[in-house]
């Protein structure tokens, strides 16, 4: 009984001291904290594959690749994307449906990547710009195609599957 009493006491104290030893060691180890936002121009780690917001790349002629085929819209599981078409008349006089507005609700997106994967013309990609917090809900509902942009005329060229699925290849 008394033996237990004291050996218990000493064992307990020893275990506590060992624990304190560990914290003591940690006190002097290098701190792992990454200092966002101070490091946002330098050491900030964001993977290239990070999906932060959907974007539609436009080239210097303000042209994008979206044919407004609505594949992304149907594939999106929760209706984040709305593709609004308009009908224009081409030079040959044919009526043609083109993209009017590409609406994307950042506040609703689940970043499942289905839209990008399934888009037949690779018109959209995810960017890793994660600084998107806003003060109002409406600000998160974005229009991805820029004002006055139009479809890029392009030769049909099928990209290999592998590249398509990895946005960093873009």
């Amino acid at each position: 009984m008394s033996g237990n009493y004291f050996s218990g006491l000493f064992k307990g104290v020893k275990s506590l001291l060992v624990g304190m030893g560990e914290t003591w060691k940690e006190l002097w180890t290098k701190k792992v904290t990454a200092e966002y936002p101070e490091n946002r121009k330098t050491t900030l780690f964001v993977s290239d594959r990070w999906r932060a917001t959907l974007t539609m790349p436009h080239d210097e002629n303000n042209e994008h690749a979206c044919t407004s085929c609505k594949v992304c819209e149907t594939n999106c599981p929760n209706g984040t994307i709305q593709v609004i078409q308009k009908v224009i008349e081409t030079e040959e006089g044919k009526k043609k449906k083109v993209l009017d507005r590409y609406l994307y609700d950042l506040g609703m997106c689940t970043f499942c990547n289905l839209c990008v994967l399934t888009c037949p013309s690779d018109a959209i990609v995810f960017s890793k710009d994660f600084e998107n917090a806003t003060f109002t809900r409406d600000r998160l509902k974005e229009q991805l195609n820029k004002e006055g942009s139009k479809l890029r005329e392009k030769k049909k060229e099928v990209k290999p599957e592998a590249e398509k699925s990895a946005p960093e290849a873009e």
Partner: protein, 187 residues
Amino acid sequence: MDVKDVKIKGIPYAEFKHNDYLEDYVKELQANGVNVVVSKLDELINWGRSNSMWPLIFATSCCGIEFMATAAAHHDIARFGMEVVRNSPRQSDVMIVAGTIVHKMAPLLKRVYDQMAEPKYVLAMGGCAISGGPFVDSYHVVEGVEKIVPVDVYVPGCPPRPESLFYGLMQLQRKVKLEQFFFNKER
């Protein structure tokens, strides 16, 4: 006070998004006209408030785990002085709604918000809190906490990465720094 004076360490004013909101806000304030002494005092108070936001974590699901990561060593929310997580709504300043809010939870969210002491802010973290996110179409999910309580800052993502949350918190700080404390009828 001018919007441009609202400085946040690490990010210049111009690189923040959604500045126009703050500019409008300030214009509105200036229209009312405030005298200088008061505004200096206001500045001090807002400085205190914005730098000492003790969060109440209304964490219901995945985003809550990301908040935990935010509080842990790698990201360390303590740098902003916000690691003092108070579990009692009476003592906290900003409610971070992290996760889906469902119908059964709605009364609780409202109640906890109501029980918070003024001044109080709400930050909606993640798609679910903003709009219902992946579950918008569900029968039991609230389409965004704004339906229940007023939201000050929305941080999109599913889940937002810790840095996104920091960014959102800094946005909130900016908003708080512009607030008017004296002679304010709203709050």
